[in-house]
């Protein structure tokens, strides 16, 4: 084919370009309606809001790249958070509570990974089932208790502001993003993950133990859920059985908005990061405008559907064969 073929205008618009434009537009809209939005302390609050969601979304990008999905990250967070509350309430030992939280999250992810990698049960059903399992478990553990009265040290984990305006979550996200982005774009693991999304057998035949990789990424996602639980508790200082209810959907939306395909094989950490920020801006903007959480959910659902339709139309134009691995 001739390399001099004239490119159409739309082919210059990658997912990420569109996302950045969308982000810019959303920020401008909120800023114009509510000028207080542009104050650094208010604007950077966006990162404090999406701290938990962001951690999980970055991990979920790995999972969705392989063509899998985890529907229940929010309930894994809930279960981990409840375990934190229980441990703190019984032992008053912060280190132990944090350790148990991380272990619980990791085990939750490990259990998913074990089922998905060792049996042929699709991730969709596995996580649908374990999502209810974890929700049920956290309700059983907590009963009607709400755990509160956590030490101030815990709050420092999430409410510290660098230079007086930059939430510490920004640093967490950035560090995790750089590590995962490097693995995703440059590492062998990233290449294998994308390969598994396209054709798992091909990757198996090239001598890669895909079962181990699957188990690994789900377990890692579980660990991130545990971490997210701690960040969440630092922000709200109370472990309730309603925590994380809405997050399953927000996390998946962030990843899919970022252009990672549910079919597997294509995606980007950068896209996910922009997706996370868009969600944060929406959340912050809506709360500034005093809109209810329901309007936010409604909008988020619509945005997800529209973005999927847009991407699918774009894919159609570019033809799937030209996807880069």
């Amino acid at each position: 084919m001739s390399t001099f073929k004239k490119k159409s205008f739309t082919s210059y618009l990658s997912h990420q370009t569109i996302l950045v434009i969308a982000l810019f537009v959303v920020v401008m809209i909120f800023g114009i309606i509510e000028p207080v939005f542009f104050k650094p302390r208010v604007f950077f609050d966006v990162f404090a809001i999406v701290g938990e969601i962001g951690l999980m979304a970055l991990g979920l990008t790995f999972v969705i790249t392989t063509g899998g999905i985890d529907l229940g990250v929010g309930y894994n967070l809930q279960m981990s958070g409840i375990v934190f509350g229980l441990t703190w309430a019984t032992t008053q030992n912060l280190a132990l509570a944090i350790a148990f939280t991380l272990v619980t999250g990791t085990l939750g992810g490990f259990f998913n990974g074990l089922i998905i990698s060792r049996t042929r049960i699709p991730s969709l059903v596995t996580t649908l089932a374990t999502m209810y399992l974890y929700r049920g478990l956290s309700m059983i553990i907590a009963g009607s208790n709400n755990y509160a009265g956590f030490p101030d040290v815990l709050q420092k984990i999430s409410t510290t502001r660098l230079f007086g305006f930059l939430p510490v979550q920004f640093i967490y996200l950035l560090v995790l993003f750089f590590i995962l982005d490097f693995i995703y774009e440059r590492g062998v693991l990233g290449r294998n993950l994308k390969g598994m999304g396209f054709n798992e057998n091909a990757v198996i035949y090239s001598g890669v133990n895909t079962k181990k990789i699957l188990l690994g990424i789900y377990t890692f996602l579980g660990l991130l859920c545990g971490m997210a639980a701690i960040v969440y508790l630092g922000r709200f200082s109370a472990a309730k059985t309603s925590m994380g209810d809405n997050m399953n959907f927000e996390v998946i939306t962030a990843v899919l908005l970022g252009g990672t395909s549910t079919m597997g094989g294509i995606g980007s950490m950068r896209g996910t990061l922009i997706g996370i920020i868009i969600i944060g801006v929406l959340k912050k903007g809506f709360s500034l405008l005093n809109f209810s959480g329901n309007i936010y959910n409604f909008t988020l659902g619509l945005i997800l559907i529209l973005s999927l339709l847009l991407f699918s139309v774009m894919e159609e134009k570019k033809k799937v064969s030209s996807r880069k691995i």
Binding site: T119, I121, A129, R135, G136, L256, N294, N297
Partner: protein
């Protein structure tokens, strides 16, 4: 070869035996077999039976609908709002079912036309629906004091024991068992779920089949939602949030393969009964409500695991492993 067919225990047969044993066990140990026990079981199980049939048909084609519960909410709201406005049954029932059909059809249309996996479309739709209830419907869609014009059908009983809703469910089940077993459409459905490529080569248009199935599922969700709503004097769309868990687990317990292409409507119907019997048993045993979530999750996992696992292969593998060890 003998001419007499050896009776073979199918998955559905096995499930039927389990359900029967369960009923026997419950009636021996509790007052389940009393008039009110049987009545309330039939009343509770009928909406799930009908919806599980719809979900099974979706799963046959290799798709799924996570928004089935929230679509039900719209159906119930439509019926309630129309009754409040003074519409007779001949209008509000078809209108409500139509709403369900169209909403599910929209899911199907988006899934097929834009090649987006149904799980993502319906997950997003679920969110849109829930947000819609609370944002746009007056009082979040809560309508009370609907009166006997709304409830008479849901509360009517045949011979004082069989609720009309159960009769509807049985008729619907019979029709769909027949359709899936004997019609061309049923065969096409299995073909699309089993192997799309070969379905295409044999002249089936899979897109059209999938869209059709979504519409049919919506129709069944509509009936199911009405069967549940009509028993109450009020409608509240949020009451239906999360119901899809029961529908899906009924289908999966009934042996409908999540990979598509296999399973039976009979299985889904029995699966719905099984799910409810477990619930009832847990209530009798004095477990709190929230154990339901954990239990449903475990039931789904076990059911799918049994469907997926090829035990004959396992034996061979174990043999091989033990040989290797020696």
């Amino acid at each position: 070869m003998s001419l007499i067919k050896k009776p073979k225990l199918t998955r559905e047969g096995l499930l039927a035996i389990i359900v029967a044993a369960f009923i026997l066990f419950l009636s021996l140990t509790t007052n389940f077999s009393s008039k009110s026990g049987i009545y309330s079981f039939m009343l509770d199980v009928s909406p799930t039976m009908v919806a599980a049939i719809g979900l099974s048909m979706i799963i046959f084609t290799g798709n799924i609908d996570i928004s089935a519960g929230t679509i039900s909410g719209f159906v119930a709201y439509t019926a309630g709002a129309l009754v409040k406005a003074g519409a007779p049954m001949i209008i509000f029932v078809p209108a409500a079912i139509l709403v369900g059909t169209l909403l599910a059809g929209l899911n199907g249309y988006l899934t097929v036309k834009f090649k987006v996996p149904s799980i993502v479309v319906t997950l997003a739709m679920n969110m849109v629906h829930v947000g819609f209830y609370a944002t746009f419907l007056p009082q979040s869609g809560w309508i009370e004091n609907l009166g006997p014009r709304f409830t008479w059908f849901g509360r009517a009983r045949l011979f004082g024991i069989i609720p009309y809703t159960f009769l509807v469910a049985v008729v619907v089940a019979a029709i769909f068992i027949f359709i899936m077993a004997y019609s061309k459409f049923g065969k096409k459905l299995y073909a699309v779920g089993g192997n799309v490529q070969s379905a295409v080569y044999s002249g089936i248009n899979p897109d059209r089949i999938v869209i059709k199935v979504f519409f049919i599922e919506g129709f069944l969700i509509g009936i199911s939602a009405l069967l549940r709503a009509l028993t109450r004097n009020e409608v509240m769309p949020s009451m239906f949030i999360g119901r899809e868990l029961f529908f899906i687990s009924a289908a999966l317990v009934g042996g409908v393969s999540i990979f598509g292409g296999s399973g039976k409507i009979t299985g889904a119907v029995l699966g719905a009964m099984f799910v409810y019997l477990i619930t009832i048993a847990m209530i009798y045993l004095g477990f709190q409500d929230y154990y339901q979530f954990a239990l449903q999750g475990i039931i789904i996992l076990i059911a799918v695991f049994i469907t997926v696992a090829d035990f004959s292969n396992w034996k061979k593998k174990r043999l091989k492993a033990s040989e290797g060890a020696v």
